[in-house]
């Protein structure tokens, strides 16, 4: 791996950039791997990276049906925060946030993690109660999150309207200063490059179409569009397609896949210094380093694999954006798109074993798994490497739907992710 640095960049500038090697190879699949990861999103690639880097397991393949990062990793609004309510989620997302803070250096790839602060707006007495509950819980979990008055919200995000005449006046906000954004593609490519250089095979255009099983029912390999591959251990990290992939192993899951949309405005000079979320009116907004306002909309109400949704969903969000930021009404939408998110009944992920030996799953991140990427990948790598969950993902079992031990952040606070 050629190290990235200002000096290598300078050297290449004089060399007309002729010397840069590939960031990851494009190998033919080998007949056999110790671990096969299904899904070349950031979680899958990250898992492979940590398997190689921390657990010394390098005979690993990441199988991606299209191009790496082409799933939700490449189409999310990049909001990162860890101020979750429950201990279980807080531990998971904070684990991730801590990793985010050093990820660029660790990967030698600028992930552009930008701790711009995530401000969540309260618009009702109920919101205020709920946010305080979060803030106190976060404090005791060692996670930063502070209460801002409407005036402090305005000072933090000058474009925000705090007019008391608004349809939903701002009654305050919860600010996590360490929260922010990162460049979605950089995470994918950074992990890919890191994993590849440690021996992991990243195989694109390779769709997993089935599983083969040993006599005892455990996994013995995967069938793919590029042939059969033997392995005793498979980690499925296929986000919106998890039901489809695991369906091929005969499993049915507590999952539904919905389109989730986002849009960007035309680029403008810096005007939005942070991330603002409002669950009450349903708006998520930040400004990318290229200058577009990046705006997250909601899910459509029906399951779909079509990566697109209805205009009424985006328009609902823009209503809210323009209400909160009336000066943006003359801004223009430049592009909109959709992803397919896999949603569990309690909106928390499932990370761990499946009923089939050797088959592991990491799914159900729904609308909010980008922020978890390094944490999720790390604990999943641990689970795959050791066969037992990391303490952080231990509660995120499939079995919780049987026992009723749900981790329902949304129900607890009506907080989307």
């Amino acid at each position: 791996m050629r190290r990235f640095s200002i000096s290598s960049l300078l050297a290449e500038a004089f060399n007309a950039h002729r010397g840069w090697p590939r960031q990851w190879r494009s190998p033919e699949p080998k007949p056999k791997y110790d671990v096969v990861i299904v899904g070349g999103g950031s979680h899958g690639l990250g898992t492979a990276y940590y398997l190689a880097n921390e657990f010394g397991i390098t005979n690993v393949a990441v199988l991606e049906k299209g191009w790496i990062g082409g799933g939700n990793s490449g189409r999310n609004t990049t909001i990162i925060r860890s101020n979750y309510l429950y201990d279980e989620s807080a531990a998971l997302y904070e684990h991730a946030l801590k990793l985010w803070e050093t990820l660029s250096t660790q990967l030698n790839y600028n992930t552009m993690y930008s701790a711009r602060g995530v401000l969540m707006l309260a618009h009702s007495v109920h919101d205020v109660q709920s946010f305080k509950r979060h803030i106190y819980a976060n404090r005791l979990n060692g996670i930063d999150n502070e209460w801002l008055t409407p005036e402090q919200c305005k000072a933090f995000c000058p474009a925000l309207s705090i007019s008391p005449d608004a349809r939903y006046p701002v009654m305050g906000g919860a600010l996590q200063r360490r929260g922010g954004t990162a460049r979605h593609d950089a995470i994918v490519w950074g992990y890919a490059r890191g994993a590849d250089s440690r021996g992991v095979d990243i195989i694109e255009n390779c769709e997993v179409t089935g599983f083969s099983r040993a006599q005892d029912g455990s996994i013995s390999g995967v069938e793919t569009s590029r042939g059969q591959i033997q392995t005793r251990r498979v980690g499925v990290v296929a986000a919106g397609h998890t039901s489809v992939v695991l369906g091929r192993a005969g499993l049915r899951l507590p999952l539904e896949s919905f389109p989730l949309q986002a849009l960007v405005s035309e680029p403008v000079k810096p005007v939005f210094p942070c991330v603002v979320m409002s669950n009450a009116v349903h708006a998520y907004i930040s400004q990318s380093d290229k200058g577009e306002l990046v705006i997250g909309a909601g899910t459509d109400q029906y399951t779909s694999y079509s990566q697109q949704g209805g205009l009424h969903i985006t328009s609902h969000t823009l209503d809210a954006i323009c209400e909160l930021f009336p000066q943006f009404r003359r801004m223009r939408m430049m592009r909109s798109w959709g992803g397919i998110v896999d949603v569990t009944p309690d909106r928390s992920p499932i990370i761990g074993r499946t009923p089939i030996d050797g088959l592991y799953v990491n799914c159900g991140w729904g609308t909010g798994g980008f922020k978890a990427t390094p944490g999720s990948a790390h604990v999943f790598a641990h689970t795959l490497a050791t066969g037992t969950p990391h303490p952080i993902n231990a509660p995120f079992t499939l079995d919780r739907f049987r026992t009723g031990r749900l981790i329902d952040e949304a129900a607890a606070a009506a907080v989307a992710h």
Binding site: N110, K132, A320, M334, D408
Partner: protein, 1006 residues
């Protein structure tokens, strides 16, 4: 014809579609620009000899006007229409010239002419594709403090509006049989055919005038008439037909599911003095039975070094400026390209009297008779030449060409002096909408382009959008599409002379003898992506076209690569040595061109953002100075401060009044459902946790409702009005979802039950009169109901009259006091309310708001669903285990209550908390811990759900969900405060009137 341009003006003396009788003046960077009605900003600037209009994104290179339409990547201007009507990034090629408008160039400092940012151009070797991924990582804090802000400040083109937009926007839903997108020849022919049979037709075109390419076609004859005459006549015919809507300035920007089409009509931006009442823009949402996509094609640039200088334009655009706007983009124009259409453009330029040279980069053997024809007009035509580069900086001054003698053999350079270059690298059908509709594209080798293949929805493409470039064929195809869409078979064919030159060669990166890894041949002009960036990406392993796009950002600018994508794709194919169709395109997404948020929002602003539901006595409460709080869509009176009172004092006073005398409260927002039918009781029995079969008519009962997962969903009092009729109440926020929940079970699980549900939330206004004096106050007003406790006990309901209006009178209490909830038809609410206030005056009747209501019920330990429960709370958790019928075989949610986790002893249970400091009112949401010295992360036992100052108790009270709480009664725990922790004692969640005697009234005051 000789050119008669004056020294300063590039306006041609004759021709064009501009209205020379209507001069228009606007400013560009403060300088006054003279124009005519019919000009765009771009044509007016060109007429004034201005090519330099902006600086590029990354390198701050001087940039000019590339195109004449909505595909413009370069000429982005800030447009100020005055009075807060300013927005950035407008394409100069589509903004119509208007008096008083102020246009400014963007992305430079201190000025367009002298831009310090241009230093980036010198540093360009550093700024290769994806350079930022490779550096700025160290030291870590520098990224956030230094590098990132610097990168951001450089990016972003224009400046966001700073004022709230004064303009209005509106929307319209429309339906039609045939929607024709694009009013060029194919669209016009389609609309003509479709409307002939009386079909409902909408014809939309994004331009100010319909006609498409016909607007600048001076040579074609259609059915014997000049193209423009045919255009005008056809348009008039179409527009005169009933059920036809013709919409100029209307961009179809989105093709969604099931032929749902979104378009935006620009209504007033082009008007000098728009009539009052007109919106700035209108969003149309059309549901069309059939859509005809006649969106034309976009011309491609050529990729040669420094192909981005001001003055270098697309050939067809040069033709359009000359013919349509009577503007000469230059006096001495070099055409360079591979298309027949460029020859036509060159011929038109020549006949406008301009000096013309033509460079055909094709091998002479690939060129046809157009070469000879153009030479015959006296134009020098070079074939078999490549382009080495251009000269000039803020305006192009020459094109450097060289003959190609064989593979890798580039001959001697020659600089063709010029003041404009017209390039044509081929045509790209505008398949955006087709592709959005999820149709499959197919590659047509002959035109080196993707054209529509299999359809996914009910649409069809015609004309250049379909890869058909010959005008006659375009018309025929449009006609056929229109006729078929309208269900007729009438065929027709159009005679066109002369025939269109449609041949096209294939242009990729042009041969050069310079170092190809160093020269910059631009593809995506706006995002400054060059051929070598693409090659670098491919070299670094970004080989999927989607990866190339994301690594280099090609096609990601405001034009979404309309002019550049196909060329970039060709370069990728070349670099990968793969055929173009194997490389494929990136995904086309809405919008086709950028759309203002305002149009998408439409009316939904301010008061129309979301309905504000006001309780029946809202106006009265407002007049009393009430402070309101939003609850779901409702506004509810929170408290009624008297002069000088804060919330705390007001709420205490209101509570005191209820406990000692009587209070009055507007409870109308509670949801209400009338449940009617012989099986009504059985239905409720299955919906609620508790039993209903034995409830007698005239009696009420508090009911608890679960979701199927066992968690509390809603609650409320239910009254049995008659054997087969119940009056159900729900929480304010729950009204709609409870009805849906009930209908769901009724229609899908128990459709055999004879029950009907009707929402009566707004039929009944509800006045709660609560307090020891409640009966005395209302008794004189009530007719036909005996209020004596024996006849009308607690939890009874009676139908009668109050103040002569019908009432359903409930004797219920959410305060713990003797109380009534008086349901009257909403329209009578005010009358009754006023009468009660009057009657209660001697008793000190006091209006109270939601805050006092909350405090009063908390003193009695009554829960509020959604506050003391949160979707993870079972009846037992909430201390309502007794509400769960043990004898009922089944009800919604029952099975879930015996799941393993529901039976654990450490579940959070509702308890009361009192603070060691009696004055301290805890924060709702405060967390409860056992040991404040424990390390972080600290074990939390639960949280405070409700917390108030209790006037009746003389100390603060709180409800909390605490792990194993009921076993902790008497324990001291600690709750978080803003500054630390406060000691609290766990108590039963009833703070006042533990025996619940007061609801029976007549007790001494406390």
């Amino acid at each position: 014809m000789a050119s008669d341009l004056s020294a300063h003006s590039f306006r041609l003396a004759n021709g064009g579609r501009i209205d020379r009788s209507r001069p228009v003046r606007f400013t560009f960077n403060g300088r006054t620009i003279d124009a005519y009605a019919g000009d765009t900003i771009a044509s007016a600037l060109l007429a004034n000899g201005i090519h330099l209009v902006g600086r590029s994104f990354k390198y701050h290179r001087p940039r000019g006007i590339l195109s004449h339409g909505s595909d413009e990547p370069n000429a982005l201007l800030d447009i100020d229409r005055g009075a807060g009507r300013r927005d950035p990034n407008n394409r100069a090629t589509v903004v119509e010239a208007l008096d008083g408008l102020a246009a400014r160039s963007q992305n430079h400092w201190p000025s367009l002419d002298f831009d310090l940012g241009a230093i980036n151009d010198r540093l360009a070797p550093m700024f290769a594709a994806g350079f930022y991924y490779k550096t700025f990582k160290w030291p870590r804090t520098f990224w956030h403090r230094l590098y990132e802000p610097a990168i951001r400040a450089m990016a972003g083109l224009g400046v966001a509006p700073t004022e709230s937009d004064p303009d209005r926007y509106t929307q319209r839903n429309a339906h039609c049989d045939v929607l024709v997108v694009g009013g060029g020849p194919s669209g016009l022919a389609a609309a003509l055919a479709a409307s002939e049979s009386g079909a409902r037709v909408i014809l939309a075109d994004e331009q100010a005038e319909l006609g498409g390419t016909l607007l600048h076609d001076r040579i074609s004859q259609i059915d014997g008439r000049a193209a423009d005459t045919w255009r005008a006549e056809t348009l008039a015919t179409i527009a005169a037909r009933p059920d036809v809507i013709v919409l100029p300035r209307t961009t179809v920007f989105g093709y969604y599911n099931h032929n749902h089409i979104a378009m935006v009509e620009r209504v007033t931006d082009h008007l000098q003095a728009p009539p009052a009442g007109l919106p700035r823009e209108r969003l149309w949402q059309v549901r069309a039975k059939k859509v005809i996509l006649a969106t034309g094609a976009h011309e491609r640039p050529l990729a040669f070094a420094d192909n981005d200088r001001p003055g270098i334009m697309l050939a067809e655009s040069v033709r359009a400026y000359i013919n349509r706007y009577a503007v000469a983009p230059g006096r001495q124009i070099v055409f360079a390209g591979v298309t027949g259409s460029a020859y036509q453009a060159a011929a038109d330029a020549k006949s406008a009297g301009l000096a013309v040279t033509f460079v055909d980069v094709r091998d002479p053997t690939q060129c046809g008779e157009e070469v000879g024809e153009l030479r015959a007009l006296g134009v020098e035509v070079l074939t078999g030449h490549t382009i080495i580069g251009s000269v000039g900086r803020k305006r192009v001054a020459g094109l450097i060409v060289a003959p190609v003698n064989g593979p890798g053999d580039v001959g001697a350079h020659r600089t063709l002096p010029c003041d404009a270059i017209a390039m044509s690298g081929g045509w790209t059908p505008a398949v955006h909408l087709f592709s959005q509709s999820r149709g499959r594209l197919q590659y047509r080798d002959a035109i080196d382009a993707f054209v529509p293949g299999a359809s996914a929805q009910s649409e069809c493409s015609a004309g250049a959008a379909n890869g058909t470039y010959d005008l006659a064929a375009t018309l025929d195809e449009g006609w056929r599409a229109g006729a078929e869409a309208a269900g007729t078979t009438a065929s027709r064919s159009f005679a066109v002379a002369p025939s269109t030159r449609t041949d096209s060669g294939r242009a990729r990166s042009l041969p050069t003898d310079r170092d190809a890894d160093r020269v910059r041949a631009f593809l995506d002009f706006q995002n400054d992506v060059t051929v070598k960036d693409i090659k670098l990406a491919v070299r670094e392993g970004f080989q999927s076209i989607e990866h190339v796009k994301r690594y280099t950002t090609t096609g990601m600018a405001t034009d979404q690569g309309k002019t550049s994508n196909m060329l970039a794709l060709g370069i990728v194919a070349e670099a990968l040595e793969r055929p173009v169709p194997e490389v494929g395109t990136t995904t086309f997404r809405p919008p086709f061109t950028p759309v203002s948020f305002g149009a998408i929002v439409g009316q939904a602003r301010d008061a129309l953002f979301d309905p504000i539901r006001k309780a029946p006595l809202h106006d009265w409460a407002e007049a009393q100075g009430a402070v309101f709080e939003p609850v779901a869509l409702w506004r509810r009176a929170r408290y009624f401060p008297q002069a000088g009172e804060g919330m705390h004092a007001a709420v205490s006073r209101e509570c005191r009044a209820v406990r000692s005398n009587v209070g009055i409260f507007d409870a109308s927002t509670l949801g209400k459902i009338e449940v009617v039918g012989p099986d009504a009781a059985e239905f409720l029995n299955r919906i609620y946790t508790n039993a209903w079969l034995k409830l007698a008519p005239g009696r009420c009962r508090y009911g608890l409702m679960l979701r199927e997962d066992g968690f509390i969903f809603d609650d409320g009092v239910v009254a049995r009005i008659a054997e087969d009729r119940f009056h159900v109440t729900t929480t304010t926020g729950g009204a709609a979802r409870v009805l849906v929940h009930m209908e769901d079970y009724l229609q899908t699980e128990w459709s055999d039950l004879k029950v009907y549900l009707t929402s009566t939330t707004e039929q009944w206004g509800v006045i709660a009169v609560q307090g020891p004096k409640a009966r005395e106050v209302i008794e004189p007003l009530v007719e036909g109901i005996d209020l004596s406790p024996g006849m009308f006990p607690h939890m009874a309901v009676r139908v009668g009259r109050i103040c002569s209006v019908p009432t359903r009178l409930f004797r219920v209490s959410f305060t713990g006091e003797l109380g009534y909830e008086i349901n009257v038809p909403t329209g009578h609410m005010r009358t009754v309310w006023d009468a009660i206030i009057k009657q209660g005056a001697p008793f000190g009747i006091t209006p109270y708001g939601t805050e006092a209501m909350h405090a009063l019920r908390a003193e009695r330990g009554f829960i509020i669903v959604g506050q003391d429960t949160d979707g993870t709370v079972t009846p037992d958790d909430a201390g309502l285990g007794g509400m769960v019928s043990a004898s009922k075989r089944d009800f919604v949610g029952k099975r879930s209550l015996v799941r393993p986790d529901m039976l654990l002893a450490d579940r959070k249970q509702l308890v009361g908390l009192t603070t060691a400091d009696p004055k301290l009112v805890l924060d709702e949401g405060a967390q409860v811990v056992a040991d404040t010295k424990a390390p972080i992360p600290m074990k939390m036992l639960g949280h405070v759900t409700s917390s108030y100052w209790s006037d009746a108790c003389g100390h603060s009270i709180a409800l909390a969900l605490v792990s194993g709480g009921r076993a902790r009664l008497g324990e001291t725990l600690h709750a978080t405060t803003p500054s630390g922790f406060a000691a609290v004692k766990v108590v039963t969640p009833v703070f006042f009137d533990a025996e619940g005697k007061r609801v029976h009234g007549g007790l001494e005051h406390v």
